[in-house]
């Protein structure tokens, strides 16, 4: 059996050729990949490095708790609603033990399903479709949404308008398309007017139809080339997600379920309140994104996938009819076994987009979204944990608040961090299958990025820190005057 962490660390890195992909493009955020090869182009090491550190967890300390749901959105402009709501759910626990009025819960759900729709549309149409429609090693100049618009104007337009609708759902529920303020600890600050509801409702059937078309596009690609689609970047692993109390797909709330690579349930209906004993956040010397794993399974075996591919295969059903029909087909495609080919993420993602479009319509037809009862009251507590299924997977927010209402502790495990090991294993798999022994071309290198894009990583949410090389950075302003300087000695000590 292949060792899981093969190609993670080369024995003699000094003697090898280094290839770098920087920045990883058509993903959200900053990352780079380094590949070490010998003279015969045998791959010895592949690493996805995250080059972002913003220290949010630390500077949230000392802020009043009610600022947090708005503040943490700035972790990520692609799924700000997920951070907004995960933080709100944690703060609900603090202000009232976690209860919501029906109106508040449904407004938040509407906001969240709007975001699911916009983020999945963005990912599929704007970022990944060029690879899928033109081929992984097609012309760089065309491999973008502008190229898609030129070759398939209808597809591009559909993507743009699906995303627009999702953004409009977010604007109507939160006041702003990016970084709105709709959710507050204990509830929401607005519900919908009849005009707002009608404005969204008039396009909702079209969005469901287009989402179904999108599922057909990716399903067709899958079926036309199963040898590629089923095997590319296949990473058999544990899968984790939230499910509701009946085991159905739910993006807003639920308990944790995990299945092993063969689909056997490892745990089910586990409360996320215990996430910090269930999961351990590992650290590796060469990446500033942490590597979480299921504590009882250990670091080597405990890593897992989150996100669409995990969710669609973890749940027993999807509550909306058209998406459920598509889920059944998806599961049937894999036969008796879960699918682990990374491109399966796209198919699963489009099924989720369809579920989001259907759910948005259902919520719009529910009179509760125009209710007036927005806030719930309950006993005050000092600690709160909130979890949500963000577009990229399970997202944990954990806070402690003191008697003066100030945050004293914050810990976040963002979706992309949960997928860190899985992404690294997938790029190693692709490097081994496609790069090994070949002259490396741009097109071949794009295969690595295609694998990363499957996970739709939001590297924007991830973190980084400092190396051990002696280094000095001097920052000078436009006139040449020094404004900042950092040094680091060979022991990793940082100075000014």
């Amino acid at each position: 059996m292949r060792h899981q962490f093969e190609l993670e660390t080369a024995k003699t890195p000094e003697a090898l050729k280094r290839i770098v992909i920087e920045p990883v493009s058509r993903v959200e955020g900053h990352g780079k990949v380094t590949i070490l090869l010998d003279d015969n182009n045998q791959v010895h090491q592949v690493r996805l490095h995250i080059v972002e550190f913003r220290g949010f967890e630390k500077f949230i300390e000392g802020r009043p708790y009610w600022e947090v749901p708005v503040l943490v959105q700035r972790l990520c402009g692609i799924c700000p609603v997920s951070h907004h709501l995960a933080a709100s759910k944690a703060m609900d626990m603090i202000v009232n033990g976690g209860i919501l009025t029906p109106t508040a819960e449904k407004i938040r759900r509407l906001m969240h399903y709007g975001q699911m729709l916009q983020s999945h549309a963005l990912h599929f149409f704007h970022l990944s479709s060029p690879d899928l429609l033109f081929g992984f090693d097609s012309d760089v100049a065309k491999r973008n949404i502008v190229g898609v618009a030129a070759a398939n104007p209808d597809v591009a337009k559909m993507g743009v308008l699906l995303r627009k609708f999702g953004q409009e759902v977010i604007r109507v529920t939160s006041g702003k398309r990016v970084h709105g303020t709709g959710s507050v600890p204990g509830g929401v600050n607005k519900s919908l007017t009849a005009e707002e509801r009608d404005y969204l409702l008039k396009d909702s059937d079209q969005m469901i139809a287009w989402s179904r078309d999108a599922v057909r596009i990716i399903k067709g690609l899958h079926r036309s080339n199963p040898a590629l689609y089923d095997a590319f970047g296949a990473v058999p692993s544990t899968m984790m997600s939230l499910v509701d109390d009946k085991g159905a797909l739910d993006f807003y709330h639920g308990a944790l379920r995990a299945r092993d690579k063969d689909g056997e349930v490892i745990f089910d209906q586990v409360s996320y309140q215990g996430y910090n004993t269930l999961l351990t956040e590992g650290v590796k010397s060469w990446s500033y994104m942490k590597f979480p794993y299921i504590t009882t399974l250990g670091e080597e075996k405990g890593w897992y996938k989150v996100g669409p591919l995990a969710r669609i295969q973890n749940c027993d059903s999807i509550p909306t009819p058209q998406a459920e029909e598509e889920r059944v087909e998806f599961v049937a495609h894999g036969g008796a076994k879960p699918m682990h080919g990374s491109l399966g993420f796209h198919w699963a993602r489009m099924i989720e987009m369809l579920c989001a479009a259907e759910t948005i319509k259902d919520l719009l037809l529910d009179p509760d979204i125009m209710g007036a009862d927005l806030m719930a009251e309950g006993p005050r507590r000092g600690e709160g944990i909130g979890v949500i299924e963000a577009p990229r997977g399970t997202l944990f927010h954990h806070y402690r608040v003191d008697d003066n209402d100030l945050v004293t502790y914050a810990n976040l495990i963002v979706s992309t961090t949960n997928n860190n090991t899985a992404m690294n294993v997938a790029v190693r798999d692709v490097a081994k299958n496609y790069l090994q022994g070949h002259e490396i071309t741009e097109g071949l290198l794009n295969h690595i990025e295609v694998a990363i894009r499957c996970f739709d990583p939001c590297l924007s949410c991830a973190t980084h820190a400092l190396g051990k090389m002696p280094l000095e950075v001097t920052l000078v302003d436009a006139t040449g005057a020094e404004i900042d300087r950092m040094t680091k000695d060979s022991e990793g000590r940082i100075g000014k």
Binding site: H49, F53, I145, L161, H179, G282, V283, G467
Partner: protein, 183 residues
């Protein structure tokens, strides 16, 4: 500052430094108008293309996010060198934004706190592939000359559209009432 622009497809490069991508998302919030925009401009280095370095003849460089590490400094210089006009888009680019909240803290303390593992001590990752952090997050104009500032967190899609269409038509961009926001 307002030199007339040549009448051809303008080359536009965009990047996110220490930002959240929200400003780029807002750029995409021009919605269908993006299909008109691509008739007028050609995207060079950008998160939506696979062009990894700016061409030397870019007309506009649009930058989101402040400067927080050595790599940001490097990319910012690349943009200044290759783009005729540089635009600081959003609060982070203009004044450091939320990431600059860390400026009052010691970076060593932040790292030690973030990488502490219960029962296993502090393991701050170290690898030469990771760029060195600056002690503080800096706005762009402290490092290079910036030609235009587009405020907001993020500026709205409409504000970005008005700004770009003014610039493309050779007008001095103005954001009237309703389009200037700082939140």
């Amino acid at each position: 500052m307002n030199a007339p622009l040549p009448k051809r497809k303008l080359k536009v490069a965009t990047t996110s430094l220490a930002g959240c991508f929200g400003c780029h998302m807002s750029f995409l919030d021009i919605d269908e108008r993006i299909l008109d925009l691509v008739e007028l401009v050609e995207f060079d280095r950008s998160p939506i293309t696979d062009i990894k370095h700016c061409s030397p003849d870019c007309d506009l460089g649009i930058i989101e996010g402040g400067v927080c590490n050595a790599e940001n400094v490097h990319v910012l210089h690349e943009f200044r060198k290759n783009c005729k006009i540089l635009i600081a888009m959003g609060a982070c680019a203009i004044n450091g934004g939320l990431p600059a909240q860390r400026n009052s803290l010691d970076i060593r303390d932040i790292l030690a706190a973030v990488y502490a593992q219960p029962g296993r001590g502090v393991h701050i990752p170290n690898d030469p592939e990771i760029p060195l952090l600056l002690n503080e997050v800096h706005p762009l104009h402290e490092v290079v000359k910036i030609d235009y500032f587009l405020p907001g967190c993020p500026p709205s899609g409409d504000a970005i559209w008005k700004f770009l269409t003014d610039l493309l038509a050779g007008r001095t961009p103005t954001l009237g009432h309703g389009l200037i926001h700082y939140d």
